[in-house]
């Protein structure tokens, strides 16, 4: 276990170095930040002076070294626009995004699992067929159309939920601004998280269905039937646990997709999270903020996948042994 974690941490460090290098490398490709910072009236000499002060005229590796040195101490540069440490700006928006992602993942698990199982055990049932049709439509419709439809149906026509913002939030331990504990906050959460969940659900319904169908063909399921176990026990204990192994792995990879989708979802629903902030930062050429965002997201990705591997090890007994051996 300890060895497994150590290996994981080393891998994570390596991945983070690569991510930081890439995100730093794109900084000077996004445009001239000085142009965005100063007005038209500033002369070329003054601009050069600012460039020198910011260290923008130094060589790439020197700049990267400076950046990396800061990064190790938790300093990812200062946002040009907010004039605050970029990391602080992002971490302030982190709760909003995490809550959104968490709710949509919860929705995906709670809806996709029973749907996938139903489609697998009763493939000819009318509901299963309907599910398959809906999921293939869901796979092919882009998320912004889903989002716009949601706004149109639930906010404009039915007037059930607000279409933008986070609503009322409460502070927890003075660190975390949460919308999960107020009625207004939950109402605001509804549409964005539903949109995000709809984007991911079809893949999971189909994956769970396909895996489950394969598992149900296996000898150990037949043996379970021959022992006279109840159908419920066979489906939900014997089959589902085996079905979930590949689903967990794919789930970890999809965490990356989820982040990409939060950018779109947050922009459409004006959700004050990291994704929304990122879009703003890009349009303002706030390069430190952009690279800080990429690094934070990379970190989230690494952490989620480590967790996924740990969960996988808990579900699959053969993996535990392997981690001892290596």
């Amino acid at each position: 276990m300890l060895i497994f974690l150590l290996r994981r941490v080393m891998q994570a460090c390596f991945v983070m170095i690569i991510i930081s290098l890439i995100s730093f490398a794109i900084q000077d490709k996004l445009g001239d930040p000085v142009q965005q910072m100063v007005g038209m009236s500033v002369s070329q000499d003054e601009r050069n002076q600012i460039r020198n002060e910011l260290g923008l005229n130094d060589g790439f590796f020197l700049q990267y070294w400076r950046f990396a040195e800061g990064a190790i101490h938790g300093d990812l540069g200062t946002s040009y626009y907010y004039k605050e440490p970029a990391l602080d700006v992002i971490l302030e928006k982190l709760p909003a995004t995490l809550e959104l992602a968490f709710c949509s993942i919860l929705l995906v698990i709670l809806v996709a699992t029973p749907c996938g199982v139903l489609a697998a055990i009763k493939p000819k049932h009318i509901l299963s067929r309907l599910l398959m049709i809906i999921s293939s439509i869901g796979l092919s419709v882009p998320i912004f159309i889903v989002a716009i439809l949601m706004v149109y149906i639930f906010s404009i026509e039915l007037n059930m939920a607000p279409s933008f913002g986070r609503g009322q939030t409460v502070e927890i331990f003075g660190l975390w601004e949460s919308g999960l504990f107020t009625k207004d906050g939950l109402k605001h959460l509804l549409l964005p998280s539903l949109t995000l969940a709809i984007a991911l659900m079809p893949i999971f319904v189909r994956l769970i269905r396909a895996e489950m169908m394969e598992v149900l063909q296996s000898e150990y399921i037949r043996f379970a039937w021959s022992k006279g176990l109840s159908a419920r026990r066979i489906y939900f204990k014997h089959a589902l646990k085996n079905t979930m192994l590949p689903v967990i792995t794919v789930g970890g990879i999809q965490a990356g997709t989820l982040v990409a989708y939060t950018i779109l979802t947050e922009t459409i629903f004006q959700w004050p999270g990291m994704g929304f902030l990122f879009m703003d930062a890009v349009s303002r050429v706030d390069t430190p903020l952009v690279s800080a965002y990429l690094i934070v997201v990379g970190g989230i990705f690494v952490i989620t996948n480590t967790f996924v591997d740990l969960i996988y090890g808990l579900v699959n007994p053969t993996v535990r042994l392997a981690s001892h051996g290596l």
Binding site: Y220, A224, K227, G228, H238, K241, L321
Partner: protein
């Protein structure tokens, strides 16, 4: 009353374009504590027969007609709930490959305890005690430790022992063993077979042993059914069938056994191969491979008759019997 009686069982596979018959008019009986064997080549319908006894033929197979009676209860007419009561508790099954039979993500203990607890209302602790006792019974060392392990931590032979233990949990009347030793090492085969035999003998459990290995069968079964292309072609006491096979197919099977007396001799084999379900020949299904086939064999299906040694479905035997009967008449 017979413990199990299968009569005129027809099992079909419902395919997209056609109905394929996997079992045709299969009948046999099994008494309490009796051990019978079902032998034949791959594809003869042995396993299908084994699975249909507990109505567990995988789709697209289904029981078309005929009856399977456990004492006086008709298995073919049971609903799922009634079947679940029979499966495991009255009739238990052992599968071919122990590496595939146990669920890889559940502990041995989990898989044993759930079997007991889904049939009888007892506490987890009591069920655990029974499970450990049975593991001990099948000669597994330190059963308490094995109880908490996962299948992948056990060897193949050990897993088959666990499966035998799991089959014993509820003291069933019948064990159906579908090639229980085929996937195992030769040295372990003998051990497992001995164990199975001892258990059936000691507890008075009836055994249906499905095998293609006549050597195995001769050691275990009192009676043998020989199957070919979905038919039972010969049935009788194992010793008689092995010493004096009547049906040309049974003779072929026995000839194909390697003999250790003559070194350097080529192994005998039956010419050709078993027809697939879709290409079943007319008349006696064995006629294309039979050295004695006549015109009649190609056109008509032989009846099942008692030859004096065993019951056989073959015109050759039937004609011979008729000849003897005629001679008897003449003599008197």
């Amino acid at each position: 009353m017979n413990l199990l009686s299968v009569s005129h069982l027809h099992v079909n596979f419902h395919m997209k374009e056609q109905e394929l018959a996997a079992l045709i008019d299969v009948s046999f009986t099994l008494n309490r504590g009796e051990r019978i064997a079902i032998v034949g080549e791959s594809g003869a319908g042995k396993s299908v027969l084994g699975f249909s006894i507990v109505n567990l033929i995988g789709k697209p197979g289904y029981i078309k007609s005929g009856s399977i009676k456990l004492e006086n209860k008709e298995i073919t007419k049971m609903n799922l709930r009634q079947l679940q009561e029979v499966r495991g508790k009255r009739i238990a099954m052992i599968f071919q490959d122990p590496m595939m039979t146990l669920n890889p993500v559940l502990t041995i203990g989990d898989q044993l305890v759930e079997t007991i607890r889904s049939h009888t209302k007892i506490s987890y602790k009591d069920a655990r005690n029974i499970a450990i006792e049975k593991l001990h019974h099948v000669q597994i060392a330190s059963p308490e430790k094995r109880f908490d392990q996962y299948p992948h931590e056990l060897s193949g032979g050990m897993r088959q022992r666990v499966i035998i233990a799991s089959v014993l949990l509820l003291n069933p009347d019948i064990i159906i063993a579908d090639e229980p030793t085929t996937a195992l090492d030769v040295t372990i085969q003998a051990e497992i077979l001995q164990l199975l035999l001892a258990i059936c003998r000691d507890n008075g459990v009836a055994l249906v042993l499905i095998s293609h290995d006549l050597g195995v069968v001769s050691k275990v079964a009192e009676r043998t059914l020989v199957m070919y292309a979905g038919h039972v072609v010969e049935e009788g006491p194992t010793l008689e069938i092995i010493n004096d096979p009547q049906h040309p197919y049974t003779q072929g099977l026995l000839n194909a056994l390697p003999q250790m007396t003559l070194p350097g001799q080529r192994l005998n084999q039956i010419r050709g191969s078993m027809p697939s379900l879709a290409e079943r020949p007319s008349g006696c299904a064995f006629h294309p491979r039979c050295p004695y086939a006549t015109q009649k064999c190609r056109q008509e299906q032989p009846r099942f008759i008692y030859s004096g040694v065993s019951s056989v479905a073959c015109f050759l035997v039937e004609d011979m019997l008729n000849e003897f009967a005629d001679k008897d008449k003449e003599a008197s």
